[in-house]
């Protein structure tokens, strides 16, 4: 563990030294970059499709990508996070409100400002496709929508249990690679993305991107068809496997990327070779127009804005009346604020039994008495009625 700390401090110092250099490089490349990537905003759709406690690692996968994406600058309003189950507050979690990604509980990827947009049973194939194609009912709030335009770069990350040509959602339904390819085609038709990066970490993940046919798509998968994607390490205190191998090494790679970094996609393709991952990661770039070596990691994972200096201004004459000066003491009568009593303790403590209003007897009581009366008169004859009336 100390060695790890030493490594991180060394990396940090190295980063500090290299940032100014990266910045100056950045200045020169900026003019060319404005036109090379062609995007003005970034979106991310991160989906975990498995539920149940033993699929802890899938939630940890998704949260670690969420953490990296937020750290590199994409705001919550541009991230659609779908988690099929709640691991942090699960009854079986020995460390509540945390989701760890590394054994010995070194990195809590849950953090303290996670914004989950689709949780629990809301994560379905239908909702996922609705988010992608934009066909949501009008009552859907903004945070649950993918409001991308033709200049958005979108990162889509899927994790869970999958097979040859399908991905399992919530243990009860599945999405096929054809449906996914059709959804991307509909996104392209409506120009809902400029470029799209698709990462999938499931067994036989490469089968999910086989059928893509829309332009500007790049895909990465953790394993080829016929191979299983394996999990990384169990944590004995928590009792489950914490992360999948591919996403673990992906997270390690992304932790070294900072917003001004020049790391490109070729580095991303090298993440987790077979020696580390046991499965063979695959990627697909034939539908992508740019050379992967010229595509920055921050084009998809970060949100580096293009900025222009405002050169022209408009001369306006001030025609507003000067604002009424507010004096410090304030001559407005502000009534002193009091807290509203949420729990009327005073009433409860000094409670006298309240005089309840009389209500006529309830239907049940009425029915019961009618039954009793009927039985009585049935048994003993109707002549007793005259004693009543």
């Amino acid at each position: 563990m100390d060695y790890y700390n030493l490594l991180t401090t060394c990396a940090f110092i190295h980063l500090l030294v290299s940032i100014p250099y990266a910045y100056s490089n950045y200045v020169e490349n900026k003019a060319g970059q404005f036109f090379s990537s062609g995007h003005t905003n970034n979106w991310a759709v991160l989906v975990c499709t498995s539920r149940f406690w033993f699929n802890y690692r899938h939630v940890a996968n998704t949260l670690s990508v969420y953490r990296s994406v937020k750290r590199l600058g994409i705001p919550d309003s541009h991230i659609v996070l779908m988690l099929a189950d709640d691991m942090a507050c699960n009854y079986r979690n020995p460390k509540p409100a945390t989701v760890f990604s590394h054994k010995n509980m070194e990195l809590n990827v849950y953090g303290d400002d996670v914004e989950v947009d689709y949780r629990g049973y809301e994560v379905t194939v239908e909702n996922f496709l609705r988010v992608l194609t934009g066909r949501l009912p009008p009552s859907t709030p903004r945070s649950k929508r993918l409001l991308s335009d033709d200049r958005s770069n979108i990162l889509i990350y899927l994790t869970g249990h999958g097979g040859n040509g399908f991905l399992k959602f919530q243990d009860s339904e599945e999405i096929s690679n054809m449906e996914l390819a059709d959804a991307f085609e509909q996104m392209w038709q409506k120009r809902r993305y400029n470029e799209l990066l698709f990462i999938i970490d499931t067994c036989q993940g490469a089968s999910m991107y086989e059928r893509f046919y829309s332009p500007n798509l790049m895909a990465l998968a953790s394993s080829q068809v016929g191979e299983d994607s394996l999990s990384h390490q169990p944590d004995l205190a928590i009792g489950v496997h914490l992360m999948d191998k591919y996403t673990f090494y992906l997270l390690e790679f992304l932790e070294e990327v900072h917003p001004a970094s020049q790391a490109n996609m070729n580095d991303l393709f090298k993440v987790c070779p077979q020696s580390q991952c046991v499965s063979t990661p695959g990627h697909r770039t034939d539908l992508f127009q740019r050379n992967p070596g010229s595509v920055l990691i921050t084009d998809f994972f970060g949100s580096v804005r293009k900025v222009e200096i405002t050169k022209d201004t408009i001369n306006l004459t001030s025609s507003l009346k000067p604002l009424i000066q507010r004096s410090g003491s304030g001559d407005m009568q502000i009534e002193s604020l009091t807290y509203v009593d949420q729990l009327p303790v005073a009433e409860i403590i000094h409670q006298k039994p309240k005089q309840k209003d009389w209500h006529p007897p309830d239907g049940f009581i009425l029915g019961l008495w009618t039954l009793i009366l009927l039985v009585f008169f049935q048994t003993y004859g109707i002549k007793h009625l005259k004693h009543i009336f």
Binding site: Y23, Y26, V27, F34, F35, G38, T40, G73, I74, P75, D76, S77, V125, E126, L129, R130, T133, G134, R135, L136, P137, P141, R142, S143, L147, D149, D150, R151, S176, M178, E179, D182, Q186, Q189, K190, P259, A260, S303, V304, R305, K306, V307, E308, I309, T310, K311, D312, T313, I314, N315, L316, T317, S318, S319, L320, K321, P322, L323, Q325, R326
Partner: protein
Amino acid sequence: MAALQLEKQRGRYAALAIAAVVIVVGIPLWWKTTETYRAWLPFSEISELDSLQLQLSVDIEVVFSRGTLTPEQQKKFPLSHVNEKEHQLHHKTEFSCGSVVVYVIPESSTLLPEDVKVYVGQRRTALLRSPPFKTSWNLKEVLSNLDVEVEQVVSTMSFGHQDIVAALSNRVRMTKVTKESMADSMRAIKSSPGYEITFSLLNPDPKSHSLHWDIEGAVQSYIQPLLNKLAPIANFSVDSQILYYAVLGVNPRFDNSVSAYTLSADSLSHVINPVEARLGSNAASSNPVLNFLLYVPDAHHSPLFIRDHSKRKVPSNAFHSPRWGGIMVYNVNEMYGPEAERPVDININMAKVMGVFLAQLRLMLGVQHTHPPTGFVLQSPGSAGLADWELDRLLWSRSVENIATASTTITSLAQLLDQIGNIVINDNIAQQVSSAVTSLQSAVAELEAGNLAFALQYSREAILASERAFFDPSLLHLLYFPDDQKFAIYIPLFLPMCVPIVLSLLKIVSEAKKRRADKQAKSD
């Protein structure tokens, strides 16, 4: 024996009757009940839209002022063109949307200064100094000489080839792209039915500065006229907020030469993201948001200046990000001395601030920088913030863009519905599609006739209807069944039923054949 025969006969009739019922009633019933409801769509008209031919015509009126032409040339004017009108220049204010009027003045006239060839006014008019020509030329030569100049004026005031290609960039791949036009197309926000404009005041140091800004009044006087003028394009909603303890996220460097803090141009890109997380937005609508932030630096980091790429000072002290909005840094350190009691009451000069924001807003909304040719002088837009012809430019490109987008949407929707046979097409979707198609056709017709206002209105209706049809929640294709799944569903249902029927039919046929063979043998 006869009874057995009768039994067998009845059996045969029963089997035949059942088979008949299954085939005649059962199969059509199954077909009808498992088909999806698809309302009729005008597919033929939609495929016509695919090959869109746009013709844009601009009404140009060229008025020759007295003294421009010699009397002989004047006489040669075909009678239909001559309209001797005595009207004063200033009073004709209501030129129809999209038209251009060019007044040609004599070459030697002193109305325009020496080196100025054209003066473009606020309201769709321009003064053009007549190019030199000899008095001996006949009318045709004069007019052809003038054509070039008039074309230049009109392309500045209405649209040029590049603008239309940029507006059609959805459908037409831009082959030869200049850096400016690409930057322009990336900067301007996409056409949308509504926009939200949010003004935010960021006060990182409320202990030192107590800021007051009259945002409502400023919006009413400066921004609202522009938005009113742009009302035909979209609906605008404006709101404002004040954020306390919001920091920029980038540490400015202290520059000793000017004894002030500076933000270099390349660090500006990292300013926006930490702030954006705190900004919030109106959750009720999905309209694009344009954010305008006014940042007052805290007392320890004042004054704060922005430097551009060549390390020069930026006079506006503001920068903007395409399709997002703008940020302006407002220094207040000069307004109070060190002995002032903290927090200091500061009134922000809204005119200066709104001047910058208005310029940024114009850029964001797509009012392009016009690069007029040399010799042109443009009148400044004035209080509305937008000259009429600038609005026309925007309207031209917007209507073309709307038409292109709507037609792409409709054609791709039709293609999608055609390809996937399982999607249910409800009546309301069919109605939206039909209305979109008719609006598109009207818009194209109006553009051809030159009525820009109507064209824009129809194109807006077309795009609203097409978007509603395309993004209708009921059009979700979740019925992807691979063939083996279809078989797996139907076989357990139909196979046990069909086997006895088919076998009995076969038996009937084989018995009939045998009887005929017997009869044949008997007769022989």
